[in-house]
Amino acid sequence: MNEVSGFALSSSLGLTLVVLFGIAWIAFGWYLGRANKTHEDFALAGRNVGFALAAATAMATWVTSNTTLVAPQLTYQFGVWGMVGYSFAALGLILFAPLAARIKRLMPNGYTSGDFIRLRYGRAAWWVFIIISVVYAFGWLVSLGMAGGILLEALSGLDYHIGMSAILLICVGYTLFGGLRAVIATDFIQALIIIVGVVLIAWFLIDTVSLESIHQEVKSNHPQLLDLLFPAAIMFLFNNIFFGLGEIFHSNVWWSRALAFKGKVAFKAYLLGGLLWLPIPIVTGFIALAAPQLGIFPPSADMVGPMVAAEVLGKIGAVVVFIVVFSALASSLDSLLAATSDLVTRDIYHKYLKPQASDQHLLRFNRYSILGLGIVTWLFCLPQIATLGALLNFAGAFVASTIFPVVLGLYQRKLTGTYAAAAMALGTLSGLVGYFTIGFYVAALLSCIVSAALCGFGLLTSQARFDWQQLNEKEEPTS
């Protein structure tokens, strides 16, 4: 630890790492992007991603600020349940495996999750869905940008705005050049870095601060963290599961991957990605339990992970933490930029504003969208409005309302667009009421309950029989 400032890294070393990473990732993105000739190449990597890359991108994209910063935050706030409960978010990937296989079969020519909602449920539901998607995408994008700033501030004391601006700049840069192909390739490398780095940090932590001393300190001075009947933590548990399910089931980040994966790879890739992801929040969350023993009480709960790791491992450890967390943030930020720009390009611009746009025109617009999203995200990140956990769980109120409409929409012919739209809209409203009147840890649960009830009622009363062929929308040739 730096004697003068109390930070593990000097600000100049922190900045040097950012610049080196930035140059490396952007150059890699440019190199991979040379193969992109059409909009389909850029947006869906030519629909030809193999099993190894597919599983790695599923896992790495799900390892994000959530896992590396919010899992320790929630462990610091909710104790053992925060850590275990967070790992249950792996269920999102695991349960999406059959959905991904179904999506690939039903929509071999599809592009986005918005396509599905529009074709399956019609315009009204599509509008509700797009609003939910945009709120969620910005919530996640902003949380990732914020996490970059928080990371650098926690490790080097560097101003939040510099770290935040740097990570956005880097991810926009290489996504702009390389599209989904670059995103998936960098995800593969980032997944390897994350797994090795997280294991190293946990190993050194247990070696330096014994499990016994951590347990004794928490038991004596922070007993609630070890209490398995901790009320707020119990309330949080299923909320987190539904939040994770809602994030994955609705988001174009995961749909675009399902559509980009080769043949029957999607099912196996999501299943393996989920199983690989499962232990990671346990490891990252455990780090937070050592904070009291080390005398670390962070200014903001979301800074606890990097602060503890840097304290235990010193300067080299801080560099490892930086590389791991920065990789995790980048692997999600790039995916989200690519997927959201696809949604804007395909669902709003192409299908709604300019149906006659040529392939090259869409490719150009897609890149402008990435740039625009980066700038808007940067503006939202400027004021540090909430902790990462609180910000993310606000989005939980929105996304959890989509779980049942998506699942039933993929398998059930009877659910109509009216009920799907009502389920998503009223579910979201209920979740927001819960968020503001009870706490962030019930928003997704309430949202999903109301949405499920409306979908159930819709199924019971409907006589509709949806024709699955309508989902296989053929592209009109454009030049």
């Binding site: 109390g6 610091y76 560097l158 399910l245 005398g295 709960a301």
Partner: protein, 161 residues
């Protein structure tokens, strides 16, 4: 589409600006610490009643020296039950894992440092509220998983047939 060479130059320039940007005051903050005399810090809490056992303690200005936050069960601090080192030059500290009860906090009085006393009440949600939401969540999750698996298996069978 932005031209690649122009964009590359802009990105390189922005990275350079980032590299040259002036670091936060954090690095130089506390070296002249002991020269400050009798700073009376104003302590505040993020809430007076915590339902989750965690909360944020804030001071009104960046610390000028190493500081310690003291915790007691009584307003007169006749017995200090815990002490927490203040980290770096941050103006906030998040504490966690507190059981139900009344807690008082102040900065440890040492040369040049004093503060007001703040009071916090921790009152966790009742068990019935927590269990109700837990079992509702469990039930809903079970419904979702059973629905998904049943529909998926049935659809696969139909496709094979």
């Amino acid at each position: 589409m932005p031209k690649l060479d122009g964009l590359s130059i802009h990105i390189a320039l922005l990275l350079l600006i980032t590299l040259l940007a002036r670091p936060a005051a954090a690095q130089q903050a506390s070296t002249a610490a002991e020269t400050q005399q009798n700073i009376d810090y104003q302590l505040t809490l993020s809430t007076e009643r915590s339902r989750e056992g965690y909360f944020v303690v804030a001071i009104d200005q960046a610390p000028q020296t190493k500081m310690v936050l003291q915790q007691s069960a009584s307003a007169d601090f006749s017995s200090v039950t815990a002490e927490f080192d203040w980290f770096g030059d941050f103006t906030e500290m998040t504490l966690t894992g507190f059981s139900d009860g009344e807690y008082y906090f102040r900065l440890k009085s040492v040369a040049g440092v004093s503060s007001n006393v703040v009071q916090l009440r921790v009152e966790h949600y009742s068990q019935w509220q927590a269990y109700s939401l837990f079992f509702i969540g469990f039930l809903l999750f079970s419904v979702l998983v059973v629905t998904l698996i049943t529909l998926h298996v049935r659809t696969r069978r139909q496709e094979v047939a």
